[in-house]
Symmetry: C2
Subunit: 172 residues, 2 copies
């Protein structure tokens, strides 16, 4: 039993309990996620997320000191990390062991809008992702898992759909 | 001179050089950013970004082991980190010293699409950001800086505009 519910080291019991709670009351699915960013110096910042920290800087070519991944790299990492959760969850639900999973994320970004040299979209224009999975799944299951993951990825959907941003400058 | 070009510890010379290179040839503004995600166990992954790593996990309530920020928290952090770069760059360009800068990011996300309990948008529905800056800028300058930053944020625009995602499952 404990073997079964920890396939791929995923705590399936916790997910089943969460699904039950959200089925019982949809409000239990409404979550809030936070990060508190503190400026250190130059382009170096530190985001506090619960008890964790995500450090950030820019490469020297962009005026930073190259001491940490930059914010757009953090987005690329978040996308790959999110898709990995999706694949592992989808395999685990189907009782399939994952042996290896690697995800390469590569995004294209035109710096001109950020630099004020052109108007328009300053973000990623396109992000390409190559997923490599080693498991016992047959091709049909693999294709089904892939469709499910793409259809339900929180970070993926935050990028493919417009998210409402409300950025307020508080009184000093 | 070195004082002037390192206001707020930003290497303004590097940015001026980059702007010059991109003005000379727009292709110099076309950048690619990458992350290589490796699955460790459960929902725990490690994204390699150049020589850096971004670790990721899910809270125990979501079936993880709560050892690192989760992917949607990484997006919240990336947004705050990106906006901080924008504000510091905008102030530095105007010759204004920044004393303190803190950015609180809070995003709302309905877990039901991710859990397969409802169709639709699995990502953030809305992200609220509170920026607190201590500087010598007057109110008009502050408002202008704010407009510029919101209009040119790479991570902000990656969220507010639909980004094309191409997620490919490679042969094992």
């Amino acid at each position: 039993m404990s073997q079964q519910t920890h396939l791929n080291d995923v705590d399936l019991d916790a997910i089943v309990a969460l699904v039950g709670a959200v089925e019982e009351d949809g409000d239990n699915g409404n979550t809030v996620w936070q990060a508190d960013v503190h400026w250190e110096r130059g382009f170096r910042t530190r985001a506090a997320v619960r008890e964790f920290a995500i450090e950030s800087d820019e490469p020297s070519g962009l005026g930073g000191t190259d001491s940490a991944p930059n914010p757009v790299e953090q987005v690329a990492a978040a996308l790959g990390n999110c898709l990995a959760v999706g694949y592992v969850a989808a395999f685990t639900k189907r009782g399939i062991a994952v042996r290896e999973l690697d995800i390469a994320v590569s995004g294209q970004l035109d710096l001109r809008p950020f630099l004020g040299l052109a108007p328009g979209h300053a973000g990623y224009s396109k992000i390409e992702v190559d997923v490599r999975i080693d498991s016992d799944a047959d091709d049909a299951t693999l294709a089904e898992v892939h469709r499910d993951v793409v259809a339900t990825s929180p970070v993926g959907h935050s990028l493919t759909n417009p998210v409402e941003l409300d950025i307020r400058l508080a009184d000093r």
